[in-house]
Structure formats: C-alpha cells, structure tokens
Symmetry: C2
Subunit: 178 residues, 2 copies
C-alpha cells in the first residue's frame, strides 16, 4: 500500500516532466496541482533531483509491470512486440506527452546524476524485456541489437508524433516492426 499523497505528487510531477521536461516543472506548480504548498512537497521529497529520480523509478516499475511478462503474453497467443507497441501508443494518446525515458534521455546534459542513473535503468529494463520477447518469438539474429532497434524506433516515433500532432508518424514508423 503506497502513501497516497506522495503517489499523487509523483503522478503530477510525471505528467509535467513528460509534457515539458525536467526544467519545466517546479515545486510550486506541482504543489498547486496537488492542492498543497510547495514546502509540503519538500517535506516528501527534499530536492528536485530526488523528486525526479523517484518519479523515474516509479515510472519504470509501473511501465514494466503494466506490460506483463513477455513469456506469458506469448503463451496466451499474442505477440509481445504488439503489446509493447500498444503500451507506447496508449501512453502517447492518453497522456499528451512523450515517454519519460525519452524525455530525460534527451535532457541528460541538464540532469542530476541520480536522475540519469534511473533513466539508464529504464532503458536497461526495457532492452532486457525486449530480448526476452524476441527470444519467445524465435528471432534469428542479434537479439540484443533487435531489442535496441525496437526501443529506439518507438522513442523516436513517439517524440516526432508528439510534435507533429499526428499519430500517423507513430503508426507508420511502428509498421517497420511487424
């Protein structure tokens, strides 16, 4: 059972970072949307770096949990890659922003080290998941390379679709994986 108020702070911050980046959110904006004062946000997360690192850690866990185990998806008769693509597509449409990992990956040069580390963890976990997915599918070739290609394509497609305000960029791009 997670602390509900802290979780609300993390959710609100995640939305702001995914829409405008690490340097576009502030303690005051988060506090206002949560309905408390900025000093109260500092009580839960002392520094901006700690808050963003916590957001990223939570995002990674939620994302990996949400898509499930690739072996289970495959056993149920679905393609894990199709499920993976759908997760990105839904995130793009519903949240009016890009993937947190892609955003922070681009902004690396202005991030605290703890946030960079959590962002790397996000991508490591995604590549690992995709390697298992392609293993299930009996992919012949360099599985790690294929996993990197898949996550790269999805991140790029999401970002371009986001700025072009046209889901066709995402859908046309992801055709390459089918």
């Amino acid at each position: 059972m997670s602390n509900s108020k802290e979780d609300l702070i993390l959710q609100v911050t995640e939305n702001m970072v995914r829409q405008g980046g690490y340097n576009s959110f502030s303690f005051r904006k988060v506090a206002e949307e949560v309905g408390i004062k900025s000093a109260s946000v500092h009580y839960h997360f002392p520094t901006k770096g700690e808050l963003a690192a916590a957001v990223t850690k939570r995002y990674t866990e939620n994302f990996i949990n949400a898509i499930g185990q690739p072996e289970a998806i495959y056993a149920s008769g679905q393609s894990p890659i199709t499920v993976y693509i759908s997760a990105f597509r839904t995130a793009l449409i519903e949240d009016n922003g890009v993937c947190l990992g892609g955003m922070l990956g681009a902004e690396t040069g202005s991030l605290p080290e703890s946030v960079i580390e959590e962002t790397r963890e996000f991508f490591s976990r995604n590549v690992e998941w995709l390697e298992r997915a392609y293993q299930c599918l009996g992919y012949k070739g360099d599985i790690k390379a294929k996993a990197m290609q898949t996550v790269s394509l999805l991140e790029g497609a999401m970002i371009i679709s986001n700025v072009m305000k046209d889901i066709a960029y995402f859908d046309s791009s992801t055709e390459l994986l089918k």
Copy 2:
C-alpha cells in the same frame, strides 16, 4: 555573409539546447560564453522564443545543406541513407548532445508556438529529403512510411545512445536500415 556575432550567439545557444533542452539555457549563460552581456543578446534577439526559433531555423538549413542532395549522392555511387545516418552519428559524437529536432520535439509542451513551428519544419524537411532518397534507391512500398521510420529510428537511437553513453545503441539500432 552572415553577421558573425549573431551567428556565434546562435551557435552557442544551439549547443546549450542540444545538451540540456530549451529550459536549460538562459540569456546570461549564452552571453557569458559569447563574451558579452545579456542585454546585448536581447539586442539581437528580443525574446527567448525568438532566439530559439532562429536557432531552430538555422539548424534545419545547416543540416539539410550539410547532407547535400540525395540524387547527387546516389549519382556519385553512394547510398543517401548511409550518408544520412553518418550525419546523425557525427552530430552525436562531436557535439555531446542530441539532435535539436528530437530535443524540441520531446519538449513541445513547454515551447513557444514559434519554436514548435520551426521544429515541425525540421521534420517535414527531413521526411521530404528521405522520400527522395528512397525514390533514388527504387524502394518498393510506402515511401513516406519508410521515410518516417528512418527519422524516427535515428532520433530515438541518438537519444538513447546519449543517455547510455554508449555508441553501440546507435550503431546497433541503425543496422535495421541496411
């Protein structure tokens, strides 16, 4: 012949945005690196939005000019796609930052409208260039989709390679285009 001081401001700002994003640069930081005062930067570019929009317009022109015409590349016996990939790879290695288009595409939610428009122009120009490239190569299939896939993959590969500090992510990902 372009104004040298204004060009220096644009170059310095481009580097800062490509490393940390739109919200990570300031008039003072740019001025300091150029060797003038922030008020002098305002003289050349009155607002932050105007400066960033000018940076993006210049970046697009420079990038498209640098890679040359796809038809000319093809006629010389090279693959335009290989040249295109090399342009991204060089930019990643030499500039310690991601593509300006990818960065701003992710940060769309915190950008002035004029910057968003210039970012869209960057991607439109890139897709157009890539369509001509695949036309040269006699690509069978949906050429526009193939162009979108190519730029999406490169943007994503660049961003992930940037945060992982590992060029293997870029090189493995771009294998998909060969």
